[in-house]
Amino acid sequence: MLQYLIILLDDMSTSYCHYENSRTEKNLIPLDVLKVGIRFGMMENLMIQFVYPNYELTKEFKEAIESIDHSKIISSLCEDDEITNEADVIVYHDWTGMLYGTTLEDKCVVLRTSKADLFERYMLLKDVISKVSRLNIVIKDVEKFRDEDFDRYKQVLNALSEHIEKLYVNGKSPQLNLLTDRMMLKSMNNCGAGDSNITLAPNGKFYVCPAFYLENEKESIGDLENGLNIKNKQLYRLDHAPICSHCDAFQCKRCIWLNRKTTLEVNTPSHEQCVVSHLERNASRELLSNIRKHGTFLPEQDEIKDIDYLDPFDKRNEWQ
């Protein structure tokens, strides 16, 4: 069910996910399009998330945005201090900026990192995890994981898990998407592009997500004038995803855009995506079990089961 409308305010709006936004030319959404987009969101009862460019918007744009309850997603490089202070999500594209960032306290922070940087610098995350209300790590090149990377990633997760366990024991409630989300979830909570959320681009057209717009503007799924027209809409839902509907790595990004890029189908994840998500799931399992050794923790949650696979695809004969 559609719940969220993401509005890209400009072609240069920050990426907060797997895709790269390499656009360098300003293309601000026209004010009248923005207003119609907001009205569409209100009429469809959608929560709106505005994705900001780095430059400061004019007063008219700010007023239009403030006419509706919403979330703000900005880059750490945003030049507008007022927006930066009000932002719900701050995206860091580099480690240095995040480590020396002054606006981290109690924010929801997204770190977009390569696997190589994560493997090299993960110990530096300990401070950040303690400071922010939530840290979302997006591994930009998840599709490039190789067997040796899986081993390394497992070590990284274990090290971070030990730190998070200590924080919990000391009465804190840190949130790191890779490790704590799965402990809290009872069902799939994934990307949702094309199903629970859609994106309005500066050209007034709807897209499955910002990545689909940036990759090919012709691939729209409707526009403000004629409404939504999502062809093969069912394929964005979990019940039409044969691998994912048999999976319990509930925290998995299940990035629709990466699915299509790697397997050519929006409903089918790559092997690398599945293994990475299962390493996270298994590390979450250990973390949950270890925290519970110190006392009652999330009593309403069942244990996460021990499983003997990292890619549900390998078990397809059991559910086919």
Binding site: K231, N232, L235, H240, A241, P242, I243, T262, T263, L264, E265, V266, N267, T268, P269, S270, H271, E272, F313, R316, Q320
Partner: protein
């Protein structure tokens, strides 16, 4: 009724197709190969690299047996290359002690025009014990020549094919033929099947084309033809020695959403390689087979197969690609689909949207099929032969495409 002979090792074998040429002497009107041409002929270098890649990756292809399939266009136009490929395959499977050595088949579907040529006959003699060859003849001369015409002249090809049927049946007595039915062919179904029987062909496999070619009222005409055919096969006792795939006992039943959810099509479990050394999940995903969409490549002979691109095919099931109407259909069993046609006809670039262009034709077939079996069993009962028939009949698993 004589049951169709199950294709060799069809449930255990890996099917690997060499698209050796995209050329053909014919320009059949219903041919799904929209991009046939005379330029794309496979070179020996490409063929050898493909074979080396496939045999080097035996851990990825663990099926007990292999069917090396040669397709065109018309494959026998490239008989010299095919002969070289087959010699190399035999040598390499032996040299590598490959698990497919002595469990392989070379398979051909030919238009039959140069079947009697010296080179083709030499090849047949050399590989006789490992060969399956099907000649396509569509029925009577009128029916055959309606679609199967020569490129350029537009002349019918019946006479060029039928002259080779006796030689073919002498070499392959159980040879079956594939008949394809498109809208204009419907009035000729009954007489065509009987004509093929009269030529000595005991197994006639007929399919309606998957493409959306059907006209208003075609389903009624189709049903009438099948009813006439049913009467003739039963009244004339043809069912004792001949098979026609239109009449299949398990056709037209509801399918359980949990226990009968498998994908009918074998795309992805099969492998095809073309003249450019590109790998596809089946030949229907090569560009020359597609009207609307881009080719769906899964790799090439230099970089290998991208296993991620096979995942959607290998987890695809009936429910995930079907509309609710098809899931709830009370005559669903036997309603086939072609994954390549599904992709080509889909509204987006997906294999997960089932084309329903044959829906009315399937339902017509089911009605005639029900009539056939009710009539046949009643006849057998009245003649006291039902028990014996039941005892002797073979269970036939539906063939995977």
């Amino acid at each position: 009724m004589m049951k169709s002979i199950k294709r060799w090792q069809s449930d255990l074998a890996k099917n690997i197709t060499f698209i050796v040429t995209k050329d053909c002497q014919l320009a059949c009107k219903y041919c799904y190969l929209v991009g046939k041409n005379e330029k794309e002929r496979m070179s020996w270098d490409v063929a050898k690299k493909a074979i080396d890649y496939i045999l080097d990756h035996k851990d990825d292809m663990q099926e007990n047996s292999v069917i090396w399939d040669f397709i065109g266009g018309e494959p026998f136009l490239e008989i010299e290359l095919i002969d070289k490929i087959c010699d190399y395959l035999k040598t390499e499977m032996y040299r590598r002690n490959h698990h497919w050595f002595n469990s392989y088949r070379f398979s051909f579907s030919t238009n039959g025009i140069n079947y009697d040529s010296e080179k083709v006959q030499e090849f047949i003699k050399k590989n006789r014990d490992h060969l399956s060859i099907g000649i396509t003849i569509d029925g009577t001369e009128v029916k055959h020549d309606l679609n199967r015409i020569y490129k350029g002249t537009g002349k019918g090809s019946y006479k060029s094919v039928v002259r080779n049927i006796p030689l073919w049946l002498e070499q392959f007595p159980y040879g079956g033929t594939k008949v394809t039915i498109s809208s204009p062919d419907i009035p000729y179904i009954k007489e065509s099947v009987l004509h093929l029987y009269s030529l000595g062909i005991k197994e006639v496999n007929i399919n309606v084309v998957f493409e959306d070619v059907w006209q208003e009222g075609d389903d009624k005409l189709f049903e009438e033809q099948l009813m006439l055919l049913a009467d003739t096969i039963i009244d004339g006792d043809y069912y004792k020695d001949y098979a026609c795939s239109f009449f299949t006992e398990n056709l037209g039943k509801p399918l359980d959403p949990v226990f009968e959810n498998t994908n009918w099509c074998g795309a992805g479990r099969m492998l095809a390689v073309d003249a450019n050394g590109i790998f596809y999940p089946c030949t229907r995903f090569a560009q020359y087979s597609l009207r609307e969409k881009k080719a769906w490549a899964i790799g090439n002979i230099n970089d290998g197969i991208d296993k991620n691109k096979l995942r959607p095919f290998l987890v695809l099931d009936r429910l995930s690609q079907s509309k609710q109407e098809c899931i709830d259909c009370e005559v669903a069993s036997g309603c086939a689909w072609c994954q390549g046609e599904n992709y080509d006809a889909a509204e987006t670039n997906t294999i997960y949207q089932r084309s329903t262009a044959i829906c009315k034709m399937h339902k017509a077939r089911v009605r005639a099929n029900n009539y056939y079996w009710n009539k046949l069993y009643r006849k057998l009962e009245l003649e006291g032969q039902r028990e014996e028939y039941e005892k002797n009949k073979r269970k036939v698993k539906p063939e995977i495409c």
